[in-house]
């Protein structure tokens, strides 16, 4: 299966998917860590995380998938939401919580 197809399957088979550097327990990047924290603060219990450092193909492929050059990347219900700054801003305005309830 090609990498774009693998990514599509991942983002469509879980309601909340985070492509990050490291793991929620041991994030390897401050931006990735901050998205994990925001999701926790929003009461999200189940996040499917993908450690891009363990999969170079996904690390590159995810940038093409969303036409977005940076990681982390958050997906909710199959839709690309944004990176760390956008996720933080949307949590502050309540937009993220609304999206997570939907």
């Amino acid at each position: 299966m090609d990498v774009q197809q693998r990514i599509k399957e991942q983002v469509e088979s879980h309601p909340v998917v985070l492509f990050m550097k490291g793991t929620p327990q041991f994030p390897q990047c401050g931006f990735s860590a901050s998205v994990v924290e925001v999701l926790k603060a929003c009461g999200v219990r189940e996040v499917h995380t993908v450690n891009v450092l363990e999969d170079p193909e996904i690390r590159q492929g995810i940038k093409d998938y969303a036409n977005w050059p940076t990681i982390p990347q958050l997906y909710v219900n199959g839709e690309f939401v944004g990176g760390a700054d956008i996720v933080r801003e949307m949590a502050q305005t309540g937009e993220l919580q609304k999206m997570l309830e939907a």
């Binding site: 990047c29 401050g30 931006f31 036409n67 977005w68 050059p69 940076t70 944004g82 700054d85 956008i86």
Partner: protein
Amino acid sequence: MNLAESIQASLAELEPISVELRDESDQHLGHAGWKAGGSHFRLTIVSARFAGRDRLSRHRMVYDALGPLIREHIHALAIHALAPDEL
């Protein structure tokens, strides 16, 4: 031209009213990907071009303007992209 100056120059195409670029590399001393200066930045950019656009498209405009800089040279960039009436 150092990286900060290259970033500033690339952003000119967005016709910004103001650009504030802070080099925060020293706050990230020693972790993977760190380089002495010029690796971690925080950008606040104000431009009329952002008016009426959502956050994703504003960030994409910034990324597009930065081109190869964001893909190859910048380790980390926090972005605040505002329209003039949001100041």
